[in-house]
């Protein structure tokens, strides 16, 4: 019984981190209709920002998260403003190819700049934990989970309550009407992509604290984020958190009952199922 409780808890905490990883991808996908294949590479860059802030400048990794957000926001903004905006009206295949290219370039530049060494962001409290009803709760994972929840909620409020957030949603829903109301799409697109990159930056910092960083972590993280975004739906950040938690719990339980090699089978199996049964995602509005 305590084993099941521990594994469920692991799944929930893992799911929070998953959700944060997927949040930026889902936002960009939902608003700009760009499936950003370089999303995992952005996560990797965020992890390196925190790593160097921690090892080089002795900034606590959690305090360095805003820095990672800022750097990645600027990077994402410029990328969209001066590169992706050029092809935003082109068929989706073009943006797929370009983001794939960006992913390859970023990965290899990262290897040149940071080397292929494996790194970890390892503050003194990285392994701390406490007991909760017979289960062990890793402190850092709990913090990551809390940050993921808080950012998701903030994102949801931002999109539904603020003028800018509404402008972003309006552009996604009806570009012509939005422009008639004075929304400048080029800037809005760039802001959205920047936000997506900033969320990837935070996810990267947290990932570096709980796992390890090297230039090649991006691809599998993109795949995972993609699955979560599809499972949760693209309409709302709340869907992403549901998708992330769902996947985290399913993977953990699969690993417990069927064996760890089946975790990926389960997550991508669910992806396929969702696409067949409910293509707009668990929380997505049915078309």
């Amino acid at each position: 019984m305590s084993l099941l409780w521990q594994v469920l808890l692991n799944g929930v905490l893992l799911g929070g981190l998953y959700a944060l990883m997927a949040l930026g991808l889902a936002l960009v996908w939902g608003v700009l209709n760009i499936v950003n294949l370089a999303h995992g590479a952005f996560i990797m860059l965020g992890a390196y920002v925190c790593y160097y802030a921690f090892t080089g400048l002795s900034i606590d990794p959690f305090a360095a998260l805003p820095l990672a957000m800022l750097v990645l926001f600027a990077f994402g903004y410029l990328l969209q403003r001066y590169l992706l905006n050029l092809v935003i009206r082109a068929p989706m295949f073009n943006t797929l190819l370009i983001t794939f290219g960006i992913d390859v370039i970023l990965t290899y530049l990262a290897q040149i700049a940071f080397s292929a060494d494996f790194r970890t962001i390892n503050p003194s409290y990285a392994g701390d934990n406490f007991a909760l009803w017979g289960a062990t709760v890793p402190l850092v994972r709990l913090l990551a989970f809390a940050i993921a929840l808080a950012l998701t909620l903030a994102m949801w409020l931002f999109l539904s309550r603020t003028r800018l957030g509404r402008a972003i949603r309006a552009t996604a829903q009806n570009l012509i009407a939005a422009r008639l109301y004075g929304v400048e799409p080029r800037n809005t697109y760039a802001l959205t992509f920047g936000l997506g990159a900033a969320l990837a930056g935070v996810a990267g910092g947290l990932y570096g604290v709980v796992s390890q960083v090297n230039p090649y972590i991006g691809t599998s993280l993109t795949a995972k984020s993609f699955a979560i975004a599809v499972i949760g739906g693209l309409d709302s950040p709340l869907g992403v958190i549901v998708g992330g938690l769902f996947l985290g719990i399913v993977e953990s339980l699969t690993s417990l009952y069927l064996g760890p090699t089946y975790a990926d089978v389960a997550s991508f199996g669910i992806l396929v199922l969702v696409l067949i049964v409910r293509p707009t995602g668990i929380l997505g509005r049915t078309a």
Binding site: S2, L3, Q6, V7, N10, G11, L13, L14, Y82, L83, N85, L86, I98, G101, I102, V104, I105, Y108, Q111, A116, D117, F118, R119, T120, N122, A126, G127, D128, N129, T136, P138, L139, V140, R141, V210, S211, Q212, N214, Y216, S220, E251, S252, L253, S255, L256, G259, P260, T261, A263, D264
Partner: protein, 405 residues
């Protein structure tokens, strides 16, 4: 708009140029060229680069000491290394290119058993020998190939010395958990380890395979905690083992003893973990000791010092194994007196010499027999713990609980 298009074009041009930079070392047309396809980028680049550095260092050193005496001539060695981007299919194509187009004389290997299993078929088909120091899976050697030689110890016996050492610890571990990744090498290790554990009379309480590149071990660790093994043996890759140790700490799991097939001998692995690497056991087929004499480098200790000076990091057994591959070619070429690949192949099969890596003599399937020394990280340093003649240094055992460190 125009500048943005220019930027886009620039990015693609950069990408094309980068793709064209496959040639890392392009030596002038020397009489004896050794060709290899190595992982210099992609997920396996971390270890792949040790092979490039090892090959290059050995070739340079042999040339500096006068080259290789073939018949009555002293010939220089040349090296051609291609980057296979950690892609096995590309590696196979590159070996075909090396043999058929670039006309290299002899082949050196890639890192990792999966890659070597695929690429050794090229060597066999074209009847050009391949001495490789990066693949240890039994699957490489049980196909009856005549042109593949390996300088890593047999995968199925990786944990042999570790299990010997475990039996002599006080109190000796009685229950064991065995975790392994699902690639050719680690599956071979697990198969062999299961038999060894059975012979030693140790009880396996958990025997689980996980996906290569897995990053979340929380569920496995929860199961480990509930089955409470005395010892945990993990056959996997460095990234997985990094995650395993970090998550073991954060979930407060402390067996008496844990040992890992890779990671412990590598400097960047220990650096990434810091103090958390302490107590981890591992194994190595090579230690830089002054007693291992070498014709080209003096001895293994001098080699290690020169290596650090040139490349800026400590060599581990991967690099030493790579050096042994090049040295084996030098010796075989001298014995054969020709560069004819078939005659060189026969000379390799009869090699018998001692170098900085150890005693090089290939058995009938083309693999050498090397004992694994059990090592442990103690205060951030790798200490040799147990060798063929018993304990070398005192092991720190049982492992101290995370909360008490």
């Amino acid at each position: 708009m125009r500048s943005a298009i220019a930027a886009l074009v620039a990015i693609f041009v950069c990408a094309l140029i980068y793709a064209g930079l496959g040639y890392v070392t392009n030596a002038s047309a020397a009489p004896v060229t050794l060709g290899a396809s190595v992982q210099l980028s992609g997920p396996l680049a971390n270890t792949g680069r040790y092979y490039r550095d090892g090959y290059q260092f050995a070739v340079d050193q042999i040339n500096k000491s006068g080259g290789v005496k073939i018949g009555n001539n002293h010939e220089q060695l040349a090296l051609k290394v291609l980057d296979n981007q950690s892609d096995n299919n590309l590696a196979v194509r590159q070996y075909v290119q090396l043999v058929s187009q670039d006309k290299v004389n002899l082949l050196l290997g890639s890192f990792a058993s999966d890659t070597v299993i695929a690429t050794s078929s090229v060597a066999e088909k074209y009847q050009v020998p391949m001495i490789q120091g990066g693949g240890a899976s039994d699957q490489i050697f049980d196909r009856g190939y005549k042109y593949i030689f390996g300088t890593l110890p047999v995968a199925s016996k990786y944990f042999e010395s570790t299990i010997d050492a475990m039996e002599k610890l006080a109190p000796a571990p009685r229950t064991v958990a065995l975790l392994y990744a699902d690639d050719a090498f680690d599956v071979s290790v697990a198969k062999g380890t299961r038999e060894l554990l059975g012979k030693a009379g140790l009880k396996i309480v958990l025997d689980e395979r996980y996906s290569t590149n897995a990053s979340d071990f929380a569920s496995l660790l929860a199961r480990l905690k509930s089955s409470q093994p005395d010892a945990v043996l993990v056959a996997g890759h460095e990234t997985e083992i990094l995650n395993f140790i970090r998550q073991a700490k954060s979930l407060n799991f402390t067996p008496h003893f844990y040992s890992f097939t890779v990671g412990v001998p590598s400097a960047d692995f220990r650096k990434a973990l810091g103090a958390d690497a302490d107590y981890a056991f591992g194994m190595t087929s090579w230690l830089p000791s002054a007693s291992q004499k070498d014709d080209y480098f003096g001895n293994a200790e001098e080699f290690a010092q020169a290596y650090v000076k040139r490349f800026g990091y400590e060599p581990d057994y991967h690099a030493a194994s790579a050096v042994a591959d090049v040295e084996a070619y030098a010796k075989a070429l001298e014995a054969a007196g020709t560069t004819d690949p078939r005659k060189v192949r026969d000379a390799i099969a009869h090699l018998d010499f001692n170098g900085l890596y150890g005693h090089i003599q290939f058995n009938s399937v083309g693999q050498i027999s090397l004992p694994q020394t059990v090592i442990q990280v103690q205060n951030g340093k790798v200490m040799p713990i147990y060798g063929q003649k018993g304990f070398i240094d005192k092991p720190e055992y049982p492992m101290l609980a995370w909360s008490k460190r």
